[in-house]
Symmetry: C2
Subunit: 121 residues, 2 copies
């Protein structure tokens, strides 16, 4: 349930602008303000069932956008690549402190550059 | 004209899956296979004007998707960040060859990590 909500939040962040204003309002309450179905129902003066249905329908639409465009997946891959490079740099930084051989540093840097280049291809 | 076609190609790469099959077919001919309006018209047995109109309309739709979602811009920013990190690593690699002081290397690495972290925030 928790993971599912995080996933919905990510999809909403990516494709939310393609939903109707009403859907956006409800998903904002649900995903960003973390309100319950009951709280949203009270706030907007609609039934709890209507809140649930709107979220379910929006979720389906957002999943369809992701199936077609795959932005979230591609974006996440890029984020990972940046984090990986940053981790590699921290590691090299430590190696330098420990006065590692230049050859070892060169090798590790080349490896990281190769990995990054693969992703950018 | 040339830049505009490259931009259209990028938008098509990002949001093409949201267009109709017919639009996708024509934009593929135009942006990827680099066919002329005349060649596409001949291939598909439609008028040159119809090819032109379809491309113009698709272009407008793709621009609207980018206005709403801004994926191409965000993605490009990530790509730049990765390239920037790779350039920084190459530079550090050269500095190591030149036997730079550890303190200088640490400083440069910290700077790159800071820049990357700013982008990931």
């Amino acid at each position: 349930m928790f993971d599912k909500k995080i996933k919905l939040g990510t999809m909403f962040e990516f494709y939310g602008q393609l939903l109707t204003e009403k859907q956006q309002e409800i998903l904002e309450d649900y995903c960003i303000l973390d309100l319950s179905f009951g709280e949203i129902s009270e706030e907007l003066g609609i039934s709890r069932q209507a809140v649930y249905d709107t979220i379910k329908r929006a979720e389906k639409q957002l999943d369809q956008y992701e199936d077609k465009l795959g932005m979230a997946a591609r974006f996440e891959q890029r984020e990972k690549a940046i984090r990986h490079l940053v981790d590699g740099m921290r590691e090299i930084d430590v190696k330098i402190s420990e006065e590692a051989e230049a050859s070892e540093l060169h090798e590790r840097i080349s490896e990281l550059i190769r990995e990054a280049s693969d992703i950018l291809e």
